[in-house]
């Protein structure tokens, strides 16, 4: 059976970050960091169509 795809092979033991009693895999840290970054970007970046909304308000 050949695996379709898999440009990057993640089938090796995870790298783990230890901080005090917290132990998280690098993959999970990346996901959590991305979530925070995406949330921040979502509330900061302007949403397209501002001119159209201004026209409908006037």
């Amino acid at each position: 059976m050949s695996v379709l795809g898999a440009v990057f092979d993640l089938n090796h033991p995870a790298h783990v970050v230890h901080w005090h009693f917290i132990e998280l895999s690098v993959a999970n840290i990346v996901v959590i960091a991305l979530m925070l970054a995406v949330f921040a970007a979502a509330i900061i970046l302007p949403f397209p169509g501002a001119a159209r909304r201004r026209r409908s308000e006037s």
Binding site: M35, V38, I43
Partner: protein, 237 residues
């Protein structure tokens, strides 16, 4: 030939009329939104629905060939990969949606049930994912099921929900729990359409808002029915 008027006791008539009263077509599928709906945070709700659609779509393909298919074909493994990453995306966007809705205090203005259905959807999605993990028929499923059983047994749930019983877990995962999630999402979205997207906080009253007031006298405007509908506001379609 004229059609006889339906009696007011007809269940069909009453169901239809109350459904249309609650959600007339222009409210069910509006073509405009309040002008404050202007932030990227608002796309995470629909992104959650989109992820759920991809999960169900890839899940349907996996179930077409049975639970063992993805272990011995490349195509099956690829569809399984889409299913797994769609689940990761689903929880990703759903949690960002949750964060956004919390910081907007989106339960305001009679929208408590919107919050509740959303929170329950998240809490039901967790065991939906668990039943998927223990249905994989690989080492991950062996480990997760033999570990999760202890938590579930400790609260008596293991007496009727056996994570080491593949047949039961597969049934829950493919039918029962996705049906529950979809039903909750439909209820959630219909409630959003009913009440509208929560308006912004009024500036200048933030300091007053923390004060607890006597029972707020409910005016018709605060009873959960929105103000003028989009169709009557004169907004361009």
């Amino acid at each position: 030939m004229s059609i006889a008027p339906s009696p007011k006791t007809s269940w069909t008539t009453r169901t239809r009329e109350s459904a249309v009263d609650a959600l007339p077509p222009e409210k069910l599928l509006p073509d405009s939104q309040p002008s404050y709906v202007a932030s990227w945070i608002y796309v995470f709700g629909v992104a959650s629905i989109a992820a759920l659609i991809v999960i169900i779509g890839s899940g349907v393909i996996l179930s077409l060939k049975g639970p063992a298919w993805w272990h011995y074909t490349g195509v099956g493994h690829f569809i399984n990969s889409i299913h797994l990453w769609a689940v990761e995306l689903f929880f990703f966007v759903m949690v960002v949606h949750l964060w956004g809705k919390y910081w907007m205090a989106a339960w305001r203005g009679g929208r408590t049930r919107v919050w509740i259905t959303g929170a329950v959807t998240f809490l039901v999605a967790v065991p939906t994912a668990l039943t998927g993990y223990v249905s994989q028929q690989n080492f991950d499923a062996q480990w997760i099921s033999t570990q999760a059983k202890d938590g579930l047994n400790s609260v008596g749930v293991g007496a009727f929900f056996n994570v080491t019983n593949f047949g039961q877990m597969y049934s829950y995962h493919v039918l029962l729990l996705p049906a529950a999630v979809v039903a909750l999402v439909i209820a959630h979205v219909l409630l959003v359409r009913r009440h509208g997207v929560v308006p912004p906080f009024a500036l200048g009253t933030a300091r007053d808002s923390a004060r607890v007031s006597p029972a707020v006298e409910r005016t018709p405007a605060l009873s959960g029915v929105d103000g003028p509908s989009p169709a009557s506001s004169g907004a361009p379609s």
